[in-house]
């Protein structure tokens, strides 16, 4: 009766929201290009994560 939930995408969303919020309060060590690792992970890797997760849903529907 119930519609099928895209479980893996929802899991990826939870990781994004919870992991992203937690990563904001960590004191990150310095990384390349005068930025700390937090900026690289949350900001620049964040965009890669969102695009990859969207494409995963487009290709699998899960």
């Amino acid at each position: 009766m119930k519609p099928r939930l895209p479980v893996i995408s929802i899991l990826l969303m939870v990781i994004f929201v919870v992991g992203g919020s937690a990563a904001l309060v960590v004191d990150w060590p310095p990384g390349p290009a005068h930025l700390d690792w937090g900026v690289w992970i949350v900001v620049y890797f964040g965009y890669v994560y969102v695009i990859a997760a969207s494409l995963f849903y487009v290709l699998t529907g899960r």
């Binding site: 992203g20 919020s21 849903y57």
Partner: protein
């Protein structure tokens, strides 16, 4: 030719092209449903970019650069979250809304809420909340555009308002959703082109990626990391709100989910939206950090982008950036205007008042109503009353509070009842306004909130609790509702 004349020539051509699109699509709609939705007539790129261009307003496009120049990487998580907004919205709402709208023949989101919560009151409340938020938003977008003409081109405010507003209202009234979506696509591409030109020039002018960050870190040491310049709750609230809560906060964009007839088109549209928004926000971050190095003393954040353009680019490219800023305003404005028109015609005139209209008459009424709403908003923008700014400041949070969980639970939880849905919409909206008022009472500003917690977080949480608790305490929905919504 003077610099202003060059800008004016580019913008005149641009407006003429947008009106041309409206004229081109003028005869393509045969009914008001085709006029407001164009169901099945748009491809993934048009729907995807139209969704995103409607979601990214002029203040987000221009304001993001100015704000991020000051707050640096403290503000960037909000950009990542904004890029994720279509990911949340398409997956949690998109396909469910598409299927149900197809089954019910719905034209507006209020139609869907009315059917899901089997009550005219639910449709009425949703229509009222959207119209209260939308009409001042239209006026505010018109005012923002007129200010761009006034500040950047030295034109009188009223010329910018009438010229810009007239062009947007004209192409929206003439061509309906087909014109709005196709102009959104063109405007979205111009927004991308603007940042694609400016971002590398700005980063190179600031010494390259690594050197730019070294200098920015020296000038603004608290803003080179994720925290420091702003309180932790502010950064976390921004990260949470700008992604997930766009589900309810941007009904004009979400209406695009009612357009596609098949799942494949919708999924393709999602890919376009996410890539488009990621590109815009990455570029905004790079331009903002570069401007922090190149323009360290600028006072007004909103002038960051135009000042940077004037400093780094020749007038022709500068004209493209101004066209990009106006595009961001136009796409949001036309999307909201059309949805406001559809709410008045479908939910007030037809469903609430109970008028029966045939297809040609419906199309005429749809055009007239859209025109009248646009004209009213333009009249408001000539001398905006103070209440407009209050409503505009609160509108996103207000709609996010009222609609996020009624949509999500209404589409995924068969047990959600009429009473729960109504309590969630009204309770969320009221909690949001109360939280703003409490912040205003304590700090004298609508932009400072108790504990630094956004009303766009408080309202939806209250709404969530009310829907679940009230639904559990009331009788389950009728069988015909659950079979329409959940028999997949």
């Amino acid at each position: 030719m003077s610099e202003t004349a060059q800008y004016a020539a580019i913008l005149t051509l641009y407006f003429a092209a947008m009106i041309g699109i409206g004229v081109w699509f003028n005869k393509r709609s045969r009914s008001r449903s085709e006029y407001f939705l164009a169901r099945g007539k748009l491809g993934p790129a048009t729907i995807g970019i139209s969704f995103s261009a409607t979601q990214i307003s002029g203040s987000s496009y221009m304001g993001a650069v100015g704000t991020e120049r000051i707050f640096g990487y403290n503000f960037s998580p909000a950009g990542v979250s904004s890029a994720a907004a279509p990911w949340f919205s398409y997956i949690l709402l998109g396909d469910r809304l598409r299927r149900i709208a197809g089954r019910l023949g719905s034209v507006t989101l209020a139609d869907i809420l009315q059917a899901r919560f089997y009550s005219k009151a639910a449709g009425g409340v949703a229509t009222a909340i959207m119209l209260v938020a939308f009409i001042p938003l239209i006026a505010a977008q018109l005012k923002a555009a007129a200010n761009v003409f006034e500040v950047l081109l030295g034109m009188p405010y009223w010329i910018g308002l009438v010229g810009f507003g007239g062009a947007v209202i004209l192409y929206t009234v003439l061509g309906g959703m087909l014109a709005v979506a196709w102009t959104d696509l063109v405007q979205g591409l111009i927004m991308m082109a603007g940042f694609a030109i400016l971002a590398p020039v700005a980063v190179l002018s600031a010494g390259g990626f690594s050197e730019m960050h070294r200098q920015y870190g020296q000038l603004n040491p608290q803003a080179i990391s994720l925290m420091g310049k702003m309180p932790a709750l502010w950064v976390i609230s921004d990260f949470l709100v700008w992604g997930f809560f766009q589900i309810g906060g941007s009904p004009a964009a979400v209406t695009r989910f009612l357009i596609p007839e098949d799942e494949r088109t919708l999924k393709g549209a999602m890919a376009y939206s996410v890539v488009f928004q990621s590109f815009i926000y990455v570029c905004a971050t790079l331009i903002a950090i570069a401007s922090g190095v190149l323009l360290p003393d600028i006072d007004q954040p909103d002038l960051t982008l135009p000042t940077l353009v004037a400093k780094l680019l020749p007038p022709v490219f500068g004209g493209i950036i101004i066209a990009a800023v106006l595009s961001a305003i136009m796409s949001t404005l036309s999307g909201i205007l059309l949805v406001a028109g559809s709410l008045v015609v479908e939910n007030v005139y037809v469903k609430l008042i109970g008028k029966t209209i045939d297809a040609p008459q419906g199309l005429r009424i749809a055009r007239w109503v859209t025109f009248i709403i646009g004209a009213l908003a333009m009249a408001m923008a000539f001398r905006p009353p103070a209440a407009i700014f209050w409503i505009v400041t609160m509108s996103f949070s207000f709609m996010a509070s009222a609609f996020t969980f009624p949509f999500v639970l209404g589409l995924w939880w068969p047990r959600a009842t009429r009473e729960g849905g109504l309590a969630g919409m009204l309770g969320g909206a009221i909690a949001c306004v109360v939280w703003y008022v409490l912040g205003w009472a304590r700090y004298g500003s609508l932009e400072n909130w108790i504990g630094g917690i956004w009303p766009a977080l408080v309202g939806p949480m209250v709404s969530l609790v009310l829907i679940v608790v009230v639904s559990k305490l009331t009788a389950p929905p009728p069988e015909e509702v659950t079979s329409t919504f959940f028999a997949d």
